[in-house]
C-alpha cells in the first residue's frame, strides 16, 4: 500500500522530460575556485551579459569577477525598519491614546517609555520579514522551479562539488561554437548544451480548466471550510472549553434542586434585622396604643424635595398629586379619602407614620418599600400639601 504510493511519487517526480526543445544555454564545469574566478573574468571581459556562475557556496571575489554592482537590498531592511517603528508607534498611540483611553498607574494615556520595547520588537520583525520577502521574491525572483537548468547533470554537479558557468542563447553576442571554444580554452572539464524540456501537456489546452484539477481545488475548499467550521463553532465550545457559560453558582430567580422548597434564593433567618431597617415597635397595633414621638427628620428644602419625590412615586397613585383623594387610577382601585380632612390635619406625625408603616383598611404596609427616614420626609411633604390647601390669609401677606 505505502510502497505503491511511494512508487507513484517516484514515477511522477523523478521523471525527466525529453530535452529536445530550443537551445537555452551553453554550460561549462570547472573543478577549482581559481578556475571559475578566471572563467567569470574572461566571460565578463568578452562582453557577455546574460551569463551566470553557479557555485555550491558563495565564492569570495566572484561579484567583482562577474562585474556585478553592489547589492542594494540593504535599503529594503532600512525601509522595513522605519515602517515597523512608525507603525508600532501609531498603533499604540491610537489604541491607548485615542480609541480607548484607560488609566494605568496614574500615567498619561499614551506613555512613550513603556511603548519602546514593543516598538523595538516590531521594528525587527517587520524589517526581517520585508527583507527576506524581498530577497526571495523581488531580488532572486524565486520560487521558480521551471528554470531549464533544473534536473540537468550540470545542475546536479554545481550544487555538490563543481563550479559552473553558462551563457544564455538570448545573449546578443551568443554564438554556440564561439562559446564552446571559449569554455574549452579556459580549461573546462565538461562543456555541454542545455536545451529547453518538452512538457507533455496531453489534450488539455488550459491546465486550469482540467476537470481533475478543478475537482481537487473544490475538494480542498470544502474540506478546509468544514475543518474551519468544526474548529471555530464546535470544537472550542466542547468541554473543558466552557467559556464560563457553566459555573457552579446560583442564578437569581431560578429553580433550585438543592433546596427542599425549590427556591434558589434563601430567606433570612427568623428575626434577622437588616442594617437601617429597625423593626417598627407598634407593628399591627391599633392607633390608640402608639406612643406619640416627634418627627426625627428636620424640615429642610432637601428633605421636602425628597418627600415630594417619594410621595409622587408611592402615594400619589391613590391619594392624588395634591392629596385630595382624586386617584390617578381612574377607579381601578378604590380611592381613599382626602388628606385635607380635619381628622388627618389634627393627627400627629406619628399617627401618619403608623398608617404608612402598618397600612390601613385596603392600604398595604409600605414598611418594606420606603425606608424609615423617607417615610418621615413624606409626612413633612403631606404637611406642606395640607398647609397649601388651607393657607391662612397671613401666608399671602408680603413683607
Amino acid at each position: 500500500m505505502i510502497g505503491n504510493i511511494l512508487k507513484k511519487f517516484d514515477e511522477k517526480f523523478l521523471k525527466t522530460e525529453p530535452r529536445t526543445g530550443d537551445l537555452y544555454a551553453v554550460s561549462a564545469l570547472f573543478d577549482t575556485p581559481d578556475q571559475i574566478i578566471h572563467a567569470a573574468e574572461e566571460v565578463s571581459d568578452a562582453g557577455y551579459k546574460k551569463f551566470d556562475v553557479l557555485t555550491p557556496y558563495p565564492i569570495h571575489g566572484m561579484d567583482g569577477a562577474m562585474g556585478l554592482k553592489d547589492t542594494r537590498i540593504g535599503w529594503v531592511a532600512m525601509l522595513g525598519g522605519i515602517s515597523g517603528v512608525s507603525l508600532a508607534f501609531l498603533m499604540i498611540w491610537w489604541m491607548v491614546g485615542v480609541n480607548y483611553t484607560n488609566v494605568f498607574g496614574g500615567k498619561p494615556f499614551f506613555n512613550l517609555p513603556p511603548s519602546i520595547p514593543i516598538m523595538f520588537e516590531l521594528t525587527v520583525l517587520i524589517a526581517s520579514l520585508t527583507l527576506v520577502g524581498a530577497l526571495i521574491v523581488i531580488f532572486n525572483k524565486l520560487p521558480l522551479n521551471a528554470n531549464p537548468l533544473m534536473d540537468t547533470a550540470f545542475m546536479k554537479s554545481v550544487t555538490s562539488d563543481k563550479f559552473g558557468i553558462y551563457i544564455e542563447a538570448k545573449d546578443t553576442k551568443f554564438n554556440r561554437d564561439e562559446v564552446r571554444a571559449l569554455f574549452e580554452k579556459l580549461g573546462s572539464a565538461e562543456v555541454s548544451d542545455i536545451h529547453y524540456p518538452e512538457y507533455d501537456l496531453g489534450k488539455t489546452k488550459n491546465p486550469l480548466l482540467d476537470m481533475k484539477f478543478m475537482g481537487n481545488v473544490a475538494g480542498v475548499a470544502v474540506v478546509t471550510a468544514l475543518i474551519t467550521y468544526f474548529a471555530l463553532n464546535v470544537l472550542i465550545f466542547l468541554p473543558p472549553f466552557s467559556w464560563m457559560h457553566y459555573q457552579p453558582r446560583v442564578n437569581a430567580q431560578t429553580e433550585s434542586k438543592f433546596f427542599k422548597d425549590g427556591f434558589s434564593m434563601r430567606k433570612p433567618v427568623e428575626g434577622t434585622v437588616a442594617r437601617g431597617f429597625i423593626p417598627y415597635e407598634f407593628k399591627g397595633m391599633p392607633d390608640s396604643l402608639i406612643t406619640i414621638t416627634p418627627n426625627p427628620v428636620p424640615v429642610t428644602q432637601k428633605v421636602l424635595e425628597l418627600g415630594k419625590k417619594r410621595y409622587d412615586t408611592y402615594c400619589s397613585p391613590c391619594h392624588g398629586n395634591y392629596g385630595k383623594g382624586d386617584s390617578r387610577l381612574r377607579g381601578q382601585f378604590p380611592a381613599p379619602p382626602t388628606l385635607h380632612s380635619q381628622k388627618v390635619m389634627n393627627w400627629k406625625d406619628a399617627n401618619i407614620y403608623h398608617v404608612i408603616t402598618n397600612g390601613q383598611n385596603v392600604m398595604p404596609s409600605y414598611e418594606k418599600s420606603i425606608s424609615r427616614d423617607d417615610r418621615w420626609a413624606i409626612i413633612h411633604y403631606v404637611r406642606v400639601l395640607q398647609r397649601s390647601a388651607n393657607a391662612p390669609d397671613s401666608d399671602f401677606e408680603t413683607k
Partner: protein, 468 residues
Amino acid sequence: MSFDATYTRELPLVDGKSSFKELDDVIAKPTETKPTLKWWIAIGISSTALLIGATCLGLTFWYGVGLWGNNQPVGWAFDIINFVFWIGIGHAGTLISAILFLFRQKWRTGIARFAEAMTIFAVMTAGIFPLIHTGRPWLDGYLLPYPNQHNLWVNFTSPLLWDVFAVSTYFTVSFVFWYIGLIPDFAILRDRTKSGIKKAAYTIFSLGWRGSNRHWQHYERVYLILAGLSTPLVLSVHTIVSFDFAVSVIPGWHTTIFPPYFVAGAIFSGFGMVSTVLIIVRKVFDMEHIITVNTLEKMNKILLATGTMVGYAYSMEFFIAWYSGNPIEQFTFINRAFGPYAWAYWIMFSCNVFFPQLFWFKKIRRNIPITFVLVLLVNVGMWFERYVIIVTSLTRDYLPSSWGMYFPTMYDFGILLGSFGLFFTLTLLFAKTLPVVSISEIKAVTEGAQPTHLDRKEEEQIDYRTVF
C-alpha cells in the same frame, strides 16, 4: 612590524581534507538511510516523556490549574520557571548564528544549524508555558491587540505584554533565519535524492535555488543584515523576560542587575544545552571530524566566561542587598542562602559557578566525557536558578503573616518532563530529516575552498601578515 603568522594560525575547522562530495555524503546520510536502533530507542524515550506531559496537560485543561502546586503566595511556579528556563536555552542558537557570525568566528559553522534548530524548538517549548499559565489557554487570543467586540485593547505598559511581542518576534525571526540558511541545503538534497516524495518536498522548500552567484550576492548581504537585526533582538528578549520580575516590587526581583544577569544566564544555559545535545549527535551520526574537539573547546571557553558572569551577578546581588541598607532586601538574600530553600540555592551556586571553573584547565576543556558531565550540571543549575529566583522571593515577601511554602505536585513534574520530551522529540526528528550541519557553509570554510587570487597583479595583493 611583522611577525611569524604561523604562530597564531587558526586550527583547521574541518579535520582532515574531505572532498565536497564526502561532506555531502556524511551530512546527508541521516536523511537518506533508515533510522538506526539507537535512534528508535532515543525517540521512544523522548516521545514517552512527551506523552506523559501531554496527559498531565490534558488533565490540567479538564480540571483546571488547581492540579498544580501553585498557591497563595506562590502564584508563579513551575509554569514560569520552565518558561524562563526554555527561553534561556533558546538564546544560544541566535548567539552562535548571529553574534559569532558578526565577529567572524568561523568555528561556529559546524554547530550553527543545530543551535538554530534548538533555538526554535526551545522557544516553541517555552511558548507553551505562559499560554497554559493563563489557566484558560483557549482564550489566549486576547493577548494580541486585535479589534474585538468588547472594544478593549491590551495593556501596553505591562512587561507581560512586552513578552508576548518579544517571544513571538524572536520565534518568527529565528525561524526565518534558519529557513534562509536551509534553502541552499534543500537544493543540494533535491539534486541528490533518489526518492520521489523527498524530491517533491525538497523541490518545494528549496524554492528553485540554483546556487547562482547573482543570488548568492543578495543572499549573503541579507544573511549579514539578519545577523545584525538578530543581535539586539536576542539581547532584548531575555531583557524583557527579566522585566517581568524587575518591574514588579517583590524583594529579590526589583533589581536593576536583572537584564544583563538574565542575558548572561541565558547564553550560559543555552551553550550548556547545545553542548549536551551536540556531544551525543556527533557520536551517533559519526560527525566527529565536522563538529570537532576544537569547536567544543571554544564552547567551553564561552561557558566559563558566562558562568563567571553569572557568579558575579549572584555575588553583586548580595553586595547590593547589604549596600542598599534595605532590611527587607537583606533578609531576602540571607533567606535565599540559609532559609528553607537553601538546598536549591546551593545546587544552583555550585552547578553554575563552582563546577564550570574547572574549564580553566585545557585538559578538562578537551575531555569529552568530563565536559558532558559539566554541561549536564549547567542545565540543572540554570533550572534551579529560576526556581530560586521565583520561589524564594514569593514564599517570603514583606508581610510575615502571608508567608507560605511551595510544594509541586506530580502534574508539575509531569509537565516539566513533557517539555523535555517535546524538545528532544523535535530535535531527534530534525536530526533525522534535515542536514544538521549547514552543508554550503561548511564547504566554504574547508581548506582550499576559496580562491587564492594568485593570478592577480602583485600590487593588488594585500599581505595580511604585514598589516598589523
